[in-house]
Assembly symmetry: D2
Homo-oligomer: 400 residues x 4
């Protein structure tokens, strides 16, 4: 059958490519940020080559994860804040300077950081900041132009530079902190313990779908992607309620998926509530999906009760419960068993390990693992105030 023509490919202006190469060469503290535009452009080969040939540190955005594997030695995800804050040259590959990247502004960035924007969309170039160089075109094609230009003169970013040293030290200390949290034996579990144990068993080629606030944010730092286009996040607008639909779509239409590849859907309990009935669909079609509901047991941190009381003071409500405060001890796993899937209620690392092992072994059935965690559980201390999380809350609240 005849199909419409492939999208035409454009390249960046040659002189802009020269300028960009020169800016990169002269960078003292360079950083590459790999966005989902790079994944869409199938630029994994060229970008990996750029990273490795010139020994440049990189950070993936949530859905840019896997373009270069998360466990690549040049991935500085574990020193994200540090890397953003002190880089003097940042190359954005299909990554946009929206709230996820703190709009490219101080104090999260140096005031005089030079951005090189590589994007297929002209309207994106120059958003929020005035870039040093803009490279308009297909990201894979443009990266190849950059490689060709840089290849003209032998060069690499010195692996023993102070910048690499700073980043490596920061990664080490952050990873140690995470590991310490992950190894805590106290019950209920915390986020890091949960994700540490999940990561241990996660198949290398699985698709990870995720939504929630802390669940998505912390999960993203621990759960690794090794392949491009294998992670679906709540996305730029942090929309809640999309996770199960994304997981079903990944199971049914993902072009990159081969038989036997699992979809692991990591949900906060609040996020799951938006479209939890989709488990009926998952069961009906027997889709290869494992749902992890990271359940902080009905206590919502984002919105304090006093604020809520204030909002309601015109009502004579006696029991003041904000609508996004969930029911404690909800047995989400029963929503799965109701439709014939496997359900697990887990409270300890051992139960989590075992239930995940069983779920992955049972290739004939979807499962839901309801993972009880500490209600007050939160992330490790952050250097900047968590305004991102608030905005997610606002979005969710609006959706309520």
């Amino acid at each position: 059958m005849e199909r419409c023509m492939s999208p035409p490919i454009s390249m960046a202006e040659t002189s802009a490519v020269c300028t960009a190469a020169s800016v990169i060469r002269n960078a003292k503290q360079p950083l590459l940020i790999i966005g989902k535009g790079a994944a869409y452009a199938h630029a994994e080969e060229s970008i990996k080559k750029l990273v490795e040939q010139y020994k440049l540190p990189f950070l993936p955005t949530p859905m840019g994860k896997g373009v270069v594997p998360d466990n690549h030695p040049y991935c500085v995800g574990a020193a994200r804040s540090r890397a953003l804050q002190f880089a003097d040259v940042i190359v954005l590959f299909g990554a946009r300077l929206n709230w996820i990247l703190h709009f490219g502004l101080p104090p999260r960035y140096q005031p005089d950081v030079k951005f090189i924007q590589v994007d297929i969309c002209a309207e994106e170039l120059g958003n929020n900041v005035k870039p040093a160089v803009t490279l308009l075109g297909n990201i894979h094609a443009v990266t190849k132009q950059l490689l060709e230009e840089l290849d003209k003169t032998p060069w690499q970013y010195p692996p023993e530079s102070k910048w690499w040293k700073t980043l490596r030290e920061k990664m080490k200390s952050n990873e140690a902190a995470s590991k310490e949290l992950a190894s805590k034996k106290s019950l209920p579990m915390n986020y890091y313990t949960v994700f540490y144990h999940v990561q241990e068993q996660l198949p290398r080629d699985c698709f990870v779908v995720s939504e929630g606030a802390n669940t998505m944010d912390i999960g993203r730092t621990v759960l690794q992607n090794y392949l491009p286009r294998h992670r679906l996040d709540a996305g730029t607008f942090g929309t809640m309620g999309v996770g199960l639909g994304f997981a079903i779509a990944a199971a049914v239409v993902a072009k990159d998926r081969s038989p036997g590849q699992w979809i692991i859907c990591v949900e906060g309990d609040s996020a799951f509530g938006f479209s939890g009935m989709e488990v009926e669909t998952i069961c009906r079609y027997n889709l290869p999906i494992i749902l992890l509901v990271v359940n902080n047991n009905g206590i919502y941190q984002g919105f304090d009760t006093d604020t809520w009381k204030e909002m309601l003071k015109f009502q004579d409500a006696t029991a003041v419960v904000p609508p996004m405060c969930l029911l404690p001890n909800s047995h989400y796993e029963q929503v799965m068993t109701a439709f014939g899937g496997k359900g697990y209620f887990v409270q300890t690392p051992e139960e989590l390990q075992k239930s995940l092992r069983q779920s992955l072994a049972d290739t004939n059935k979807p499962s839901l693992i309801n993972i009880m965690i500490e209600p007050q559980a939160t992330r490790k201390a952050q250097p900047f105030p968590a305004w991102i999380r608030r905005s997610v809350v606002a979005t969710k609240h609006a959706a309520c």
Copy 2:
């Protein structure tokens, strides 16, 4: 606190009221149709008086039920098709000639039937048919005008007329047919058996919320309303997915509700799937809601598999299952127990009776009764083809 003024009240033109009264007096086979507009206008007192004083047969529309109680001796709901088909004068009180009323056209109506339209909305008058008389104004005020006009000369519609006799006979035979279906002992149960047993225990003052195809259509004929504004249906557009939201809203904001009044939410299994996760909300706020899921066990009649195969032939699907074919033996009651409510899985009339009795007794908790019925169960034979149901299917399908 100051509030905005009450809506102004308008009346019909005096001469139009005279004409309408005269048309009613001269009717051979009159019929009143009481729509939800009459309920919104709080016209229950005046319309009941009109019905009783002049001994006129009436039919409620789905959400007009209860303006005059369904068990009123002049209600001819059990002879609906007959009443519509042979009436020579029909007075519409806030009822619109849309698909629910078969657009007011033959063969469901006499070609020369005279319509008298009473409505607050000028744009509605003359829709689809050319009415004999139009009475524009507040329905309660206009009905009082009509009463005043008719009172001028002593008159009543003869209770021994051939029309009344015809209607009573038809009602008798329809009720007998329903009763026969209801009393069938074979298992799985059919719709009539289920609704017959539900009706027996339904509190007189409960709110009934309903959505689904056969579930809503048949349920509406068996489950009785005694009070105005106590029934919420899927509405004019047959939108699916609204039932649980309506039930929650009825529990939280209905002005007519006093403490202790139950909301009985009668759902088809497909309808429940659209927003079944709302049971978490129902449990969280402990709302006085009993959910009845009338479960025809995953077999969907409205759309045949061949049609579906045809639609899918461009795909190489091996197992062809239309997306609205549900999972057999779904344990919807577990969705309720997952969040701490009571769940019942019932297969016999006795189990249904018992579970409903317990649900109504347990005023501290919401319940869900998952009622298994015969997959092929349908309504009793209808004199006209069931195009209405098809359109509901289409709507639902679109929503999938």
Copy 3:
């Protein structure tokens, strides 16, 4: 041919009519305001009866003019500001409390003035002010209800009241001031001189179409309407550019027009510029239209040059002319002669009289009379600041 049914007619609630009648009877300083809704409802007969039987002073709105003739002894148009400012009860017949009626608010009205709103549109009732009584329904039908109610007890508003005396005195002094302005012999003429001479020759049954700022506002006070639905103004939003289209429409489709009735289109020079090329259409179809362009010779008062300079300061314009400052000595009459109509350029009362006489005599051709007036001409001193005119300017400017 079958046509759609006539619009249904509704009446006001009987009790509200009683209350309204009682409020009217108890008014110390009553006022009726007749809006274009009264004209649309063909309420001329009932409203005239109400005015005359109870001797009530009335004011027409721009397009309510002619429902009761402007020269009726009870018309207090010449004391408009006074009447609005001191009335204690105002009955609005299809007149809305928008900017044209100063939103019904102090200081243009008494703070405790009681409004009785008669309107066909429920959403209009209670706009801006909280009315004492609202009568929702067809304005002609409701006025007849009011007449019937007031007739029950003999009553009339005392013609020798202090209120009538005040209004008559104010009218007298205003009319004297206008007449003085009108009789000024100095040249160029002023607005009042122009309109005074036009009014002298205006056929009783002509249609008057008008747009402009001062031209429309002052013209409306001098040019009289004797028949309902015979005046078309720039309307509620003061839209410029509509005059010639309205005149053509009046000539072609006005149901009330008989052969021989003229359309007199009174235009400001700026207003004419919006769609002046329509004179070609007027000439092509030889329509019975006389265009009067009241030409204040290119000097625009509404927007001062300094403001304009400020707006333009980012440009290096040498000659700063705001776009709505027109060309002095424009010979608009040549636009008419270009297409074969009659054109007159007039500078004196005598020329104006003569050209208008000739135009009216020449029933075979449209004419345009270009009337040169004093550039600084404005209206007589007003008791309130002319914010209305500013808003017209703003509208026009936006349209430029």
Copy 4:
């Protein structure tokens, strides 16, 4: 003052450029079409080089005229239909295959013609036809890529080819036919005579603005452009009423305009009627505009009276005149003199020559020359039915 960054420039994929160059080299009957996209991209230098270096025939679209001068020896505008119909390879530079280019379809094109599309807008590529090659990017940059690629191997399209011979012969015969029409001495004049005399005096650097049906279509073939971005047409949608606004805009804001450069606005009489009052603005600001109204004296050919009668048969119109039939002998020049500009009414070539000479000499005033032509005047016989013109009529009619 800081301004936003210049738009980023993208180039075409290198391999696509190679393919395109190869397709061009192998063309038997090549044709370049230069659209307004080429003008917007300031691609005049690169495209002229491509034309001259490789000796390729080219055609401009209406607003692509002047990118390469119309009198360039390789311009085949005078053989447009022939060139389109028999080319085997067509390169589109910012020209779109809409109605102006007959959608790129037979019978106006060879069924197997190979299109090479050069455009900045990805969505345009592949519209209507499946192109042989697509070059996405900035048109100037891409043309330079093409030049560089073609330069690699010495080559030029043979000037003595049969294709060039065919085109030159057709141009010669078409030019002779036009010249013959232009030299007709009979009065009233025809379109060609008018434009021939206008072209003789047209300043080389003037801006030409045009709208109308035949006026614009024929005018475009005779009036020459020598500079890019110096022609404004009614545009892709053939919108009428834009000409005077375009002329004013060209006079006030055109970046390419130096003092002393004239705007020549060539209008059909119907087109002029849409916004003729703008001459007041032209006079008020004394703009360097000469308006030519090519007046075919009120007879409209596009819509026959019978069709109109049919459309009106539900009306009892006695005199049936379609609304777009204009007034004969309209003196449009008086609309100019009314506001102080110069007006000329011309009926002979000598009068036209003289009035145009005077208009161009009088640099202090705008002029309007009302040029009377033969009412039945039309264009010379065309090889294809004039459906384009019909669509313009439809547009205009809709606008009436």
